[in-house]
Symmetry: C2
Subunit: 300 residues, 2 copies
């Protein structure tokens, strides 16, 4: 994946290769039990911006990581993301019927199947990372990172805080901490997984990548809130205005639209600045820079 | 853990040490988000027969595995088991209010918390196995085994088949296949995790342990069905007669009580016979033999 490729072409290529990897790493729809495997494939394939795989490949480009290892890491982190969406959409959580322009899993299948799809996708993600070409020490480090990012002090913890915050007046710090876990932990994991697929990271490298990941993670959420308040469901492929209707705290409700947009641009600058730590690696960080731009400028 | 200890004392000791390990490997109830961590501890601690940890330690005894590695493996497999119970009890699955003599997690807390508790316990189990004293190659092998046993072609797959079988007339073979995945996969994983904590296993050793695990897994289920049909809820610590009321196929409905009891005893003999492969290891397999007896003779 050469840096000379225009960003849009690179993005489509990573999305395409990720789709192929996910299709091949998931059990075939004809494998027993068929309904479960069919639903797992429905939940994962054929949609999504694949932001986390893009981050895996962008960070991998910085450290010349082998693409077979990146594909596996990209598929694993995307399976964790997909499982979290399936569970998050269930009636006892956000109760949402539309996702990526399609019926959510519990609507297209049933609630029990949605529960099992999420559970099995999580196992599958860890199974994926336990296999493959990377040396055992690297695989263990990747597994440990992804498990920590997914669990009660990462993504699941963020969702628990999100649940508890409905109808609450959060401060900007509290809102940031919630998103830092709920979406930030997995975005950070994607960046670090890609980088560690290339080399064992120094503390300084981890800290710079952390600063980058924290900035784009927050920017991602601020832009999500702006889009939720301004775009329509058809454009988003999910129910627009849902957070306000659910009385959830958002950046737009806290700061207003204009200040939210300004914050997103500030965070993009922070993300770019964090990458200055890798200036000695030439154009290696270019893709990470371009993803920060994509996150802030996206329309859906 | 010396083999000279009477079985009952050994059993209590493993249960006690497993409880301590689980308590220390789970985040403290005061760690944020507190409600989630409190519910995770509620789901895992203070109950259960700890059959899987017993199998881990019994198989570990056969190959002189270090107890620190066994404790970690025992805690991991028990967290997977506990998560599956939490999700299985939810309204969209079995809708059960009683487990181990206590209110189920979605009753004691709420459905969204129960969903997140299960999700986070699964991550925590893999996090546990990714850390610790075992060499990276052993950790990877353990992780891979547990992920496969938990996923869509293991425990989750068995639950999907179970869901699809409600109200269906299954043959004995189909019923066996369902249980082979639903409970057998994790019991097998417990046996193999304990053994591989001691040494890298040969194909012959894996096959003998497989035969043992398959026999006790099936015996466990046959006895479960017998107890469900004959014991009361207070003795079981869960709702008795539930399977028949839910119109689920059971060994008792298929074979009748007496033939089910005879089958359980036959399976105990099969389990003992499988262990003959380890006769050259002296009394090493004694604990595995005793667990087969325990499973067939238990009253709850």
């Amino acid at each position: 994946m050469t840096v000379s490729l225009p960003f849009d072409d690179w993005l489509k290529r990573v999305q395409h290769e990720t789709e192929g990897a996910l299709a091949s790493f998931l059990p075939a729809a004809e494998t027993l039990p068929m309904r479960l495997h069919d639903a797992m494939r429905y939940a994962v394939l054929g949609g999504g911006k694949r932001v986390r795989p893009l981050l895996v490949f962008a960070a991998g480009a910085l450290f010349d990581a082998p693409s077979a290892v990146l594909l596996r890491a990209a598929a694993a982190v995307e399976m964790i993301h997909a499982y979290s969406l399936v569970h998050d959409d269930m009636p006892c959580m956000d109760d949402d019927a539309l996702r990526r322009g399609k019926a959510t899993v519990h609507v297209a299948y049933d609630e029990a199947t949605a529960l099992l799809v999420g559970d099995a996708l999580q196992s599958q993600a860890f199974l994926l990372l336990s296999e493959g070409d990377a040396d055992p020490q690297t695989r263990i480090a990747m597994l440990s990172l992804l498990a920590r990012a997914s669990g009660s002090q990462g993504m699941c913890g963020g969702q628990a805080i999100d649940l508890a915050s409905v109808g609450q007046a959060l401060t900007q710090d509290q809102l940031e901490q919630m998103h830092h876990l709920k979406t930030g932990a997995l975005l950070r994991a994607a960046v670090l997984l890609g980088a560690m697929a290339g080399k064992a990271l120094t503390d300084e490298e981890i800290q710079a990548l952390d600063r980058y990941a924290r900035a784009i993670g927050l920017a991602f959420q601020v832009v999500d809130d702006v889009l939720d308040a301004t775009a329509d469901s058809a454009t988003l492929g999910k129910t627009a205005g849902k957070d306000a209707a659910d009385n959830k705290p958002t950046y737009v409700s806290l700061l207003g639209l204009e200040s939210s947009r300004a914050l997103a641009h500030q965070l993009r600058n922070d993300a770019h600045a964090a990458l200055d730590a890798f200036a000695h690696r030439g154009a290696g960080a270019q893709r990470l820079r371009e993803i920060a731009d994509l996150i802030v400028e996206r329309k859906a």
